[in-house]
């Protein structure tokens, strides 16, 4: 089998999940006696291709074009379709980034194929590849298989594989092969404009050693002071899952998850957070995770070191008191 990894860079910086996907591809290749090729797409990105060539890959495909300087779904789809048709990979792997979500399903569909997105693992069941992804907001896993002929398309969730396990190239360097693509300006229908960040936030949660995070279980904004009291007694910062910030109960800068901040504090105390994937990717690197939730089947307990199955409204005041007592 021939595996092709489509890597991602933006403004001269890697999206590091590219290497996680490369590590996944190398593992699948070992398991299935396959070869791995890596692909870089953009303009003026030869140095990225050189970096990939030092990894354990059979070749690096360098796809460059003036119209690929800035990402557009149309540009990427038109270009990558041609590359896939000529390189003929069996399996095309992507990191499951916002950008990949934006174009990869369409790219697969242009070739009449489906894509299994946001996978967390794969299994090799007697030569048949099974991809594992989450459903029902992380409450269940699902085993998913391809039903049509290759090429197959799949993306891996951030953190599913370890980037530091990418193997270097034993013989020094893999060949970098430039692939030319035909792309005209009229094929690119959307126009990317400025990239920007919102006003710099007052808090930097990435630097906070202790974080108390609230989820839907907090029920109403008037209950937030109870969680803030826990944070104060702990000497930590308050944070939240996306729905709380969507409601405007806490500012967006306090949001943890794929669309908010990614944190790795010493302690992450999750109050009334179910543990949907989008949240978990932002905090699973915490050294110690504590979860309080009245639902003992909440997925957050999958990753918690300590758990309390109870009503957060009973635990919060008790915990504030216990923390204050421990300090004195």
């Amino acid at each position: 089998m021939k595996i092709l990894v489509v890597t991602e860079q933006r403004q001269n910086k890697w999206n590091n999940t590219s290497f996680e996907t490369l590590a996944a591809a190398q593992q699948i290749a070992k398991d299935t006696s396959s070869t791995v090729s890596a692909l870089v797409i953009g303009k003026g990105v030869a140095s990225f291709a050189d970096e990939l060539a030092a990894k354990n890959v059979a070749e690096v495909l360098l796809v460059e074009h003036d119209l690929l300087e800035n990402y557009t779904p149309d540009g990427y789809c038109v270009a990558l379709k041609q590359v896939i048709e000529s390189a003929k990979p069996d399996l095309v792997l992507f990191p499951h980034t916002y950008q990949v979500r934006d174009f990869a399903p369409k790219l697969a569909a242009m070739l009449g194929k489906g894509m299994i997105g946001d996978c967390i693992a794969y299994k090799n069941e007697g030569g048949k590849l099974v991809f594992v992804r989450q459903m029902f907001q992380g409450k269940t896993n699902a085993d998913v298989t391809f039903q049509s002929a290759a090429p197959w398309f799949a993306s891996f969730q951030a953190g599913a594989f370890r980037a530091d396990l990418v193997e270097p190239n034993a013989s020094g360097k893999a060949p970098v092969n430039a692939v030319s693509v035909n792309l005209t300006a009229d094929q690119v229908r959307t126009k990317p404009l400025d990239l920007f960040k919102e006003a710099k936030s007052a808090v930097d949660l990435t630097q906070a050693p202790l974080i108390v995070a609230i989820g839907r279980g907090i029920k109403a904004p008037e209950n937030i002071p109870q969680a803030e009291a826990v944070a104060k007694a702990l000497g930590g910062e308050i944070a939240a899952s996306r729905p709380i910030c969507d409601e405007g109960w806490l500012p967006m800068e306090r949001q943890i998850g794929s669309s908010g901040q990614t944190v790795a504090p010493k302690l992450y105390l999750a109050l009334g957070i179910s543990g949907a994937i989008q949240h978990v990717v932002g905090m699973k690197g915490a050294r110690t995770i504590v979860a309080v939730n009245k639902d003992q089947n909440a997925p957050i307990f999958e990753i918690a070191d300590y758990g309390i199955v109870a009503d957060i409204f009973e635990v919060m005041p008790a915990l504030t008191e216990a923390l204050e007592k421990a300090k004195s």
Binding site: A109, K113, M135, T140, K191, P243, I303, A318
Partner: protein
């Protein structure tokens, strides 16, 4: 501006899920509008209020899905389309999008909106696939829409706090990021008005397209734990005291 909003009905958030092969037992649980889609509906209603036109709520699934279409009508959508399919939960993303795109082709529209992803399957592909199947430009994870002179200026969310403005011509397909707006509630007046609004029922067979499954969910299951969680029991007060003890002397993080 005529807008089609694609809305999915999913199991209620607090519904206890019991697994049945590759799906869940539907008999004992409630269903509701997929929350990400409610933001797409709200955005469609706001665009209509600003630019005029019509909002069409489109949903696919078994008979129960009509209730969610009615809810969209009660909030202000002008009419509904229900692609009635009892087998909907078994379709792969491309199959579902193929049916939906065929139903959309029969309509006159300027814009198609979807939510970011569904809270059940969570494929997050429908909007992008519709754009491909209908040969329209698209953008996803949209946080703001300004429409003017046949085109839109969009604010797209990227990762790690970054955003990008994009210019996109109409007609187009947009997937809306949750939190883009504040979703309205249905009013009694809206609920009454909805009773007079039309919901067109379509069968997949009438759409004149055939689908080939590209992927299949073989089975779903509760994941096995990778980390051993130590559960602290007792009254809330006892559990809290135990936790502080553990954090101080075992994990040594406070």
């Amino acid at each position: 501006m005529n807008i089609i909003v694609c809305i999915k009905q999913v199991p209620a958030k607090d519904a206890p899920l019991s697994i049945n092969g590759n799906w869940i037992k539907e008999s004992d649980i409630g269903f509701e509008m997929n929350e990400p889609d409610s933001y797409a509906l709200e955005e469609a209603l706001r665009l209509k209020e600003k630019h005029g036109g019509e909002v069409i709520a489109l949903s696919m699934g078994p008979e129960r899905v009509k209730q969610t279409v009615k809810e969209a009508l009660a909030k202000g959508a002008d009419r509904g389309i229900h692609i009635a399919d009892d087998n909907f939960a078994q379709l792969d993303p491309l199959g579902a999008a193929t049916y939906i795109s065929a139903a959309i082709k029969k309509e006159k529209f300027d814009l198609i909106l979807t939510g970011l992803q569904s809270d059940d399957h969570g494929f997050g592909q429908t909007g992008v696939l519709l754009a491909g199947l209908l040969d329209l430009p698209h953008a996803t994870i949209i946080m703001a829409i300004e429409a003017q002179d046949g085109k839109m200026r969009l604010k797209r969310e990227l990762e790690a706090g970054w955003f990008q403005h994009i210019e996109c011509p109409l007609p187009a397909v947009l997937s809306i990021q949750s939190g883009i707006n504040k979703v309205r509630y249905s009013t009694l007046k809206g609920i009454m008005a909805a009773k007079k609004k039309e919901i067109a029922a379509i069968t997949p067979q009438s759409l004149g397209v055939t689908i080939q499954p590209t992927q299949k969910v073989e089975k779903i299951y509760v994941p096995t734990k990778t980390k051993k969680t130590e559960f602290l029991t007792g009254t809330p007060k006892e559990a809290a005291a135990k936790l502080v003890e553990k954090l101080k002397f075992e994990a040594r993080v406070i």
